[in-house]
């Protein structure tokens, strides 16, 4: 078992080296710059994929004339900039044009909307100690990648691709679970989809809520735990589909989820919970004083870790998966492509597990924190 694993690894490494060597031998010097460009292109593509977008694009390509063609549909942009500004994202033309509303001009730069002048000028501040310079909003001749635009950023409440996806998942979940609930009115035996979903609901109740929160108090937390479990799972799974809308790799989304966990923990915490934070029983007084800020900080760190864990796992999974798929375009030979396909396939399977696992961990830890908040005094 171990031997075969090592031998497989060895074969994989040999394939990798062979792929590199043959790629360099075949196409020589010229490819080196080309491969570099390709790598940058892949990196940009991955970065782009991980970002939210103001359009719902299924795919895009570049014509021979160098024109970008997009296949998808525009989404509404809602801005708060001294009043509500609403327009369709098609006016921004994927960052290639400036949208004009009520005498204000807006342009897209790196998937964020900035207020610009009529020409769409983006100003860059010397944030990294470089000299201030101006750049075309359309990203041509873009050299400085890390620089931050100094243009005013209006509050962006746009219905972005991710918001659309959240809405779709919410609607799907509501319809599915509503229909499941309706079937229970006729008979208490699960039917149809309920046969698959009921064990999951029971899993959340019997394996997550009851052991962590306790037999008597778990009921008030069930709605949140079930919703967050199915929401994170479904949205992670759908993020793996070719539609590829990543929602949980947005820190804003995981922040919102973790914040709800934090608020529920804080507002349902009983006397015992707060006593353990501010005046830890069973330790000497100086320790109590030292422990209080640590414990208080801990209440923030717990949901913070929830936020980072979900965000990082999903982001990392997607980056690795897409990088491996990207290898296919770098290798361009008969060894590298099947290898990267196999790796991508195996990793996709792993990501399916991660999708469920992260949902489980998020729910589990939330339940654990709730359990701490309502734990009774044992001393």
């Amino acid at each position: 078992m171990r031997y075969s694993f090592f031998s497989k690894k060895l074969v994989a490494v040999i394939f990798l080296i062979a792929g590199f060597v043959s790629a360099q031998n075949q196409e020589g010097e010229e490819v080196e710059t080309g491969a570099h460009d390709l790598k940058t292109q892949i990196k940009e593509y991955i970065d782009h994929h991980l970002l939210d977008s103001h359009d719902f694009n299924l795919y895009s390509y570049t014509t021979e004339e160098g024109e970008h063609k997009y296949f998808g549909f525009p989404l509404p942009v809602i801005l708060w900039d001294n009043g509500l500004k609403v327009f369709l994202s098609s006016e921004l033309e994927h960052g290639e044009s400036v949208a004009e509303v009520d005498g204000n001009y807006y342009a897209l730069y790196h998937n964020k909307i900035y207020k610009t002048d009529a020409e769409g000028t983006i100003n860059f501040g010397g944030h990294h100690g470089e000299e201030t310079h101006t750049e075309d909003a359309f990203g041509e001749n873009l050299v400085v990648d890390d620089a931050h635009p100094t243009n005013e950023k209006p509050l962006d409440f746009s219905i972005t691709k991710n918001v659309v996806f959240i809405m779709a998942v919410a609607l799907l979940m509501f319809l599915v679970f509503r229909s499941m609930a309706k079937r229970y009115q006729k008979s208490t035996m699960p039917r149809g989809l309920g046969r698959f979903l009921e064990p999951l609901v029971l899993f959340v109740r019997d394996e997550i809520a009851i052991p962590n929160i306790g037999e008597h108090k778990y009921k008030r937390y069930m709605s949140y735990l079930l919703t967050v479990f199915f929401f994170v799972w479904v949205i992670n799974l759908l993020g793996l589909t070719p539609l590829g809308v990543n929602v949980t790799n947005n820190i804003a989304v995981t922040f919102a989820l973790a914040m709800i966990t934090y608020l529920i923990t804080t507002f349902t915490g009983n006397k015992n919970y707060w006593k353990h934070i501010f005046w830890m029983p069973g330790v000497p007084v100086p320790m109590k004083i030292i422990l209080a800020p640590i414990e208080l900080l801990g209440t923030f760190i717990k949901p913070f870790s929830l936020m980072i864990r979900l965000y990082a796992n999903i982001t990392a999974g997607h980056v690795v998966l897409m990088s491996i798929i990207g290898l296919m375009f770098i290798f361009k030979n008969w060894i590298g492509s099947p290898l990267s396909f196999l790796l991508a396939f195996a990793l996709s399977l792993l990501e399916l597990l991660v999708a469920a696992l992260q949902a489980y961990i998020f729910t589990m830890l939330s339940a654990l924190y709730f359990g701490m908040a309502v734990e009774e005094d044992h001393h």
């Binding site: 509050l155 509501f174 679970f177 208490t188 919703t227 929401f231 820190i251 804003a252």
Partner: protein
């Protein structure tokens, strides 16, 4: 970290919070409560049914034990009844025997007594008859004897002689 803050989209946060809380409230009302309620009801039903089955089983065992006990009791009853009957029979027989014995004895005694009294009466009658006969005979004899003067004289003399002897 800086990249994370840069990436943070307030709009997405706002929508996520709004949609998630909305979904949470809707699902709580229209899905989780009915589903969990139904599941709990069913679990309770199953629990109740199991308990009822257990109780019925116990009841059944009790009934079996009861009938067994009743049968046992009936058997014992029958046995005692039979025994009693046998005893009674024996008693009756022995009593009857005794009674018969006693009655027999009594009858025999009565018969004996009767016989005795009859005997006595008969003896008494015989005695009386004999006495009468003797008196008659004696009368006749005396009449005969005393028909002659000498004989009478002699008798008197004999009698006197006897008295003298005394």
């Amino acid at each position: 970290m800086e990249k994370l803050i840069e990436e943070f989209s307030f709009g997405l946060f706002f929508w996520q919070l709004l949609l998630f809380v909305g979904l949470l409230l809707l699902l709580r009302k229209y899905a989780w409560k009915p589903i969990l309620g139904a599941v709990e009801k069913r679990e309770e039903g199953i629990k109740g049914a199991l308990e009822a089955a257990e109780a019925a089983k116990k009841e059944m065992q009790n009934v079996t034990a009861d009938s067994e006990r009743l049968l046992q009791e009936a058997r014992a009853e029958r046995d005692t009844l039979l025994k009693e009957a046998r005893d009674i029979k024996a008693n009756i027989i022995s009593e009857a025997k005794e009674q018969a014995q006693a009655e027999g004895d009594k009858m025999i005694k009565q018969a004996q007594a009767t016989i005795e009294s009859e005997k006595k009466a008969a003896v008494a009658e015989i005695k009386a008859q004999v006495a009468n006969l003797s008196v008659e005979i004696a009368e006749k004899v005396i009449k005969q004897e005393l028909s002659d003067k000498g004989k009478q004289q002699k008798l008197v003399e004999d009698m006197l002689g006897d008295i003298k002897l005394n």
